[in-house]
């Protein structure tokens, strides 16, 4: 007896993935990529701390791989004929170029696939969801908190502009003063500063971001990340976009719930938001064939 396997037709419910097929998704691919980048930076930071700076062996600092450093030194680099602000090197500029190239071609995918701070926030949110699923008391408390805070949701669209102010301040400040004014409040710098027992205002920001991640996904990326603000603007020129086919979509809003950036995917037709990090979780979670897909084309407009 033979069993015919039929691919679901347009608008039909996709078959549930089982076994190895459930693991071999782009979601797993993305997580492994994020984990790899995070472990690489962690290894660099730990080695740099252990070796120290006084010896004959010279090791790279984790800061040498941060594209934000490249953005902050850009003005000085251009106006001084190749000099950098402190803590920044040629590698920062190269990583910045690579980051902007990814944004130009593949939307804000640096944030969704490579940024380790985005990865940490997603992991905290996953942990929160895991606990809420298993501990009814916590689930109830979070639900109540979210209900009470629902009125604040109206602030969301305005708070998202904050990151552009942070971008102007961090890049403008570095240009005006010749050092990285953003560094002291940078949560990413604060995290690795802990290895050297260095405490800065950024540590307070980091704690706020991690606590907020228990309730809102990627709060730093949504509201305050200056690098995401810059790459988001560049990503508008990317030929990739998300297309929701209203004929196949049943408005279940699973895509919107899956979006770590809180974008209203299920109400849009073409998604080209500057806040879309290209993680494609919405595409992965969409239960209907052809309802939501990643497309290559030239749409200029879209939510």
């Amino acid at each position: 007896m033979t069993t015919a396997i039929h691919a679901p037709s347009f608008g039909q419910v996709k078959p549930r993935r089982k076994g190895l097929a459930a693991l071999l998704t782009h979601h797993t691919f993305r997580r492994l990529t994020q984990l790899g980048v995070f472990l690489f930076i962690a290894a660099i930071a730990i080695r740099h701390t252990l070796v120290g700076e006084g010896g004959s062996t010279i090791t790279a600092s984790w800061e040498a791989y941060c594209p934000m450093g490249g953005l902050e030194t850009l003005y000085k680099y251009i106006t001084s004929g190749g000099k950098y602000v402190a803590h920044v090197h040629l590698s920062n500029l190269v990583v910045l170029v690579a980051t902007l190239a990814v944004s130009l071609v593949a939307r804000n995918a640096f944030c969704g696939w490579l940024c380790p701070l985005g990865f940490i926030q997603e992991m905290v949110s996953r942990f929160s969801a895991f606990v809420q699923k298993r501990v009814p008391g916590v689930r109830g408390a979070v639900k109540t908190l979210k209900k009470r805070g629902a009125k604040l949701a109206v602030l969301d669209r305005y708070l998202r502009f904050l990151k552009y102010a942070v971008l102007v301040w961090s890049v403008g400040g570095a240009a005006a003063y010749g050092f990285m004014v953003f560094r002291d409040v940078d949560p990413w710098a604060a995290l690795w500063g802990l290895l050297e027992l260095s405490v800065s205002a950024g540590l307070v920001v980091l704690v706020i971001v991690l606590v907020a991640s228990l309730f809102v996904e990627r709060p730093w990326c949504r509201y305050a990340c200056p690098l995401g603000a810059a790459t988001g603007i560049v990503s508008k020129l990317s030929p990739f976009y998300l297309k929701r086919e209203s004929d196949a979509c049943k408005n279940c809003a699973i895509c919107t719930k899956a979006c770590p950036m809180g974008l209203p995917v299920h109400t849009a037709t073409t998604i080209k938001s500057v806040d879309c990090v290209g993680c494609l979780e919405c595409v992965d979670e969409c239960p209907r064939e052809g309802a939501l897909e990643l497309k290559l084309g030239v749409p200029v407009f879209g939510k």
Binding site: E53, G54, A60, S91, A98, A101, A106
Partner: protein
């Protein structure tokens, strides 16, 4: 045109790491001010005092700017037996700073 999310992921990685790898291969890469793009230890050239950094040693500066070590030590009231291998940043006191050394050296070279 529909795009497979896997292909999208591969494109991101190839583009990002390809550009960084290409820059490295072309010698456009340095992860530390202490290293040149070829990975060798960067030393002061003596051309501009702006290049003096805290991680450089007294000996590096003395050699590059052709100024006797004893003269630098005396100018900043540092102990005469301070080794030439001492990093500048470890000497930071009320009487000595890297920026102070740059200013002093610039004035001395102008004379």
């Amino acid at each position: 045109m529909k795009v497979n999310p896997f292909i999208f992921g591969v494109l991101i990685l190839v583009l990002f790491f390809g550009l960084i790898g290409g820059a490295k291969a072309a010698g456009i890469w340095s992860v530390s001010g202490k290293l040149t793009s070829t990975g060798e230890k960067a030393l002061p050239t003596g051309k501009s005092v702006d290049e003096i950094k805290g991680w450089m040693t007294l000996g590096d500066v003395s050699t590059a700017y052709n100024v006797p070590l004893a003269e630098i030590l005396a100018a900043f009231e540092l102990p005469a037996d301070t080794p030439a291998t001492t990093q500048l940043k470890s000497l930071e006191t009320e009487t000595f700073s890297v920026s102070g050394l740059r200013t002093w050296l610039a004035q001395r070279l102008d004379q």
